[in-house]
């Protein structure tokens, strides 16, 4: 029932797989330097003892800045520089982004805490109405990179080959590069992992087996997306090169 995921910063190299924290609406975590006082400890001398709090509010979240004098910046990594500032002492500032990076200025280092809000709702093309209509359980933002990744994964099958092999991560990177010059294996992989969270993919029983787990995840994503028409043939337009004005560089 969680609606918000907090991904703690990596303070040391070997701490790559720190647990993500999942918050249900109304739940709150505090973060700061001391593990004793906070739900999420950020062991860095430049961070306040009680630095702030994150509260899940339905599908979005709010940030409280509990520090004495630092302004926190919440960036939208896909927003071309879009960000909000939360000054010291500000409580429960609402954050509208689906992906956010809270940057804590800490004695010269910048420690990013990622916060995902995968339950944001979007209007569907059918013109989704009030809460009384039967609605699909998924809501995707067609302007986000994850949607382009999903479209690239679904492309061979949408082009009329129902059993076509799925593109590899490298092929997806190549496919997306014209519109997304910075695409890389890692960023595509990150988006695949995020999609699995967002679409609430249930790990299949065969995934517990050995074998290429990654492949199972891609396969499940594509079959879910096609089964529920999350990506349709006319959505493949996101893969074609954008008008010249928008291409970076």
């Amino acid at each position: 029932m969680y609606s918000i995921i907090v991904v703690p910063p990596t303070t040391t190299e070997d701490e790559r797989d720190r647990t993500q924290l999942r918050l249900a609406p109304g739940e709150r975590i505090t973060f700061g330097r001391l593990a004793r006082d906070n739900d999420l400890a950020i062991a860095h001398d430049g961070v306040s003892r009680r630095a702030g709090a994150i509260t899940a509010q339905g599908a979005f979240w709010t940030l409280s800045n509990l520090s004495g004098g630092q302004t926190y910046v919440v960036e939208n990594p896909e927003g071309a520089g879009e960000h909000i500032k939360v000054g010291p002492g500000r409580l429960d500032a609402p954050v509208p982004f689906e992906f956010s990076r809270i940057v804590l200025p800490a004695a010269g280092d910048l420690l990013p805490i990622q916060v995902w809000a995968p339950r944001h709702d979007y209007l569907r093309t059918e013109g989704g109405l009030a809460g009384d209509t039967t609605a699909p359980a998924f809501s995707v933002d067609r302007t986000k990179r994850y949607f382009a990744v999903l479209a690239a994964l679904c492309e061979p099958r949408l082009r009329g080959e129902p059993h076509a092999p799925l593109p590899t991560v490298d092929q997806v990177v190549d496919r997306l590069r014209p519109n997304w010059p910075a695409a890389s294996r890692t960023s595509v992989q990150w988006n695949i992992d995020y999609l699995a969270v967002k679409l609430r993919l249930k790990p299949g029983p065969e995934e517990a087996d050995t074998g290429p787990r990654l492949n199972g995840k891609k396969e499940s994503l594509v079959s879910l997306a096609l089964r529920f028409d999350l990506v349709r043939e006319d959505d493949l337009i996101v893969l074609t090169a954008a008008p010249t004005g928008r291409v970076a560089r």
Binding site: G26, A135, A137, E206, D209, S220
Partner: protein
């Protein structure tokens, strides 16, 4: 607010024996028109509701999922005719290449209702007939659940009112047939009527797992709305109410029902809106209480499902002593009440598949992880505690060494196949969770998902039929009956000589797979 019709059909359009008249309603998936019969067979009514679903190949958007939804609905209508469910007379497919948007559309010819409960509520909130309508809606749910189906989308728009004012359930796009304790429905829902455990629930490739208790939750919401004019959970928008439902389910908030709700109904709504699905009232007990509260006569007692498979009722017995009498009345399980201790063994749904059911099935003895969930869940669907996960695992090990591809065409008269070595003509009787034999004999390959639950059902059927005077471990006698039959085991007064080697192996693995400390 005018909505675009999902399928525009001109008035006067002819499809089959029907002429399309005025539009009635449009929903997320299709549009309904009134139809008037212009000829055709005499057993069809003069007017009907024509539900057009855009399944054609040339419709603007080729909706793959729509086809599945349509098939679900048609499947249910074909197989279920119950007094409180809208009837389907026939299905037609539009063949009209000149109209590409209509060509290929599926048309369901349905019983014509006067209006929907949603229409009634928007015209007159808190109708005087509310309690009687609720009794009829609940009766419809009980008929559906007894037939082994879950509605999945109960709400006022899907309850139709007939000219005589009686209510019937309709719109079965989300309905699903139970497989054991669960069914799989497409991942669609109406937020205000969705139980908290399905909010943002995990979705597998087969869709979302749903239980009959989801309909019970929706019924609780509907009852509150019908009797008080407001939703039971606070909030001005569906998303605010969704968050309130989530907070309530996590125990952060109490249920505060409207004060004008009469006491008898307050208890009913409260039991429908229990935080967890296991605490919710069973459909049969609910029906009796709704009928008592509504002051309507008792509906004729529904026939019991042919196989004992109602574990949920036992859980209710364990958790809420107060409902014992009612639940026993509904399910006729009073004789099993003393075996209810198995209820405590159910494992948390959160555990991963590798440790799934670890309290009843060892994790370190080479039982393939991918079958644990099937084995444990199938055993839990049986109320006889002898039919345990360890017994099923031991039998699968002995039968096939967990080989799903086992194929032994020469065994017996017609061969044995799959992980549980089923003889297909016998499997036919046990393959369906509702106890009805399959129409056709299943053909190999037989998947573990078919074989294992069917094995549990068959064992569950035989256990009470084995005489209690037989000597030896009952679990071994059950295994021996699987190889021969319970009649042969009863007649021989125990394990037959030719199955002795088999039962020795089962006994060995049974011991090996059972965790050392029982509970």
């Amino acid at each position: 607010m005018t909505e675009p019709y999902a399928v525009p059909v001109p008035s006067g359009y002819r499809v089959g024996a029907w002429e399309v008249r005025a539009p009635i309603a449009t929903g997320a998936f299709g549009s309904v028109y009134e139809g008037r019969r212009t000829g055709g067979a005499g057993d069809l009514p003069r007017v009907a509701a024509l539900k057009f679903l855009p399944t054609g190949t040339d419709t603007p958007r080729q909706l793959a999922h729509l086809r599945e939804l349509v098939e679900r609905e048609i499947d249910l209508y074909r197989r279920l005719t119950r007094p409180r469910l809208i009837r389907m007379y026939e299905t037609l497919v539009v063949d009209d290449p000149a109209r590409p948007r209509l060509d290929g559309a599926t048309v369901l010819v349905l019983e014509r209702a006067q209006r929907s409960l949603a229409d009634l509520l928007s015209a007159a909130p808190r109708p005087a007939a509310g309690p009687a309508l609720l009794a009829q809606i609940c009766e419809g749910l009980a008929q559906l659940h007894h037939a082994g189906w879950v509605h999945g989308d109960l709400k006022p728009a899907n309850v139709l009112l007939m000219p005589d004012g009686s209510a019937r359930l309709a719109d079965f796009n989300m309905a699903a047939e139970l497989e054991g304790t669960h069914a799989y429905t497409p991942a669609f829902s109406t937020p205000d009527y969705t139980p908290p455990e399905l909010l943002w629930a995990e979705i597998g490739e087969r869709g979302r797992r749903i239980r009959p208790s989801a309909d019970v939750w929706a019924f609780g919401v509907l009852a509150h709305l019908l009797l008080t004019g407001s939703f039971p959970l606070p909030g001005g928008t569906p998303s605010a109410r969704r968050d309130a439902a989530a907070a309530y389910a996590r125990g952060h908030d109490e249920l505060r029902l409207a004060p004008q709700l009469p006491d008898a109904w307050r208890e009913i709504v409260r039991d429908c809106l229990a935080r967890t699905h296991a605490d919710r009232i069973g459909t049969d007990a609910l029906l009796r209480r709704v009928e008592a509260a509504a002051g309507t006569g008792r509906s004729p007692k529904l026939p019991r499902a042919p196989l004992p498979r109602r574990r949920r009722a036992v859980l209710a017995l364990v958790s809420a002593a107060a409902t014992v009498a009612v639940a026993a009345l509904g399910y006729g399980i009073s004789t099993w009440a003393d075996s209810g201790t198995t209820g405590g063994a159910s494992t948390s749904g959160k555990s991963t598949s590798a440790t799934y059911g670890a309290s009843e099935l060892r994790t370190d003895k080479g039982i393939p992880v991918q079958y644990r969930r099937l084995i444990v869940d199938s055993a839990h669907d049986c109320l006889q505690h002898e039919v345990s996960p360890a017994l099923i695992a031991a039998m699968l090990k002995t039968e096939s060494n967990f080989d799903p591809g086992l194929s032994d065409p020469t065994a017996g008269g017609e061969g044995e196949y799959g992980i549980a070595r089923w003889t297909p003509s016998v499997l036919r009787w046990w393959i369906r969770s509702d106890g009805i034999p399959a129409k056709k004999t299943p053909q190999p390959p037989l998947t573990p998902a078919q074989s294992i639950p069917a094995m549990a059902r068959y064992l569950c059927f035989m256990e009470p039929r084995l005489e209690t005077s037989l000597p030896g471990d009952r679990r071994i006698l059950i295994a021996a009956s699987y190889r021969t039959s319970y009649k042969k085991v009863n007649a021989a007064g125990g394990v037959l000589p030719q199955t002795r080697a088999y039962t020795v192996r089962v006994a060995h693995y049974l011991k090996e797979y059972t965790p050392p400390v029982k509970k």
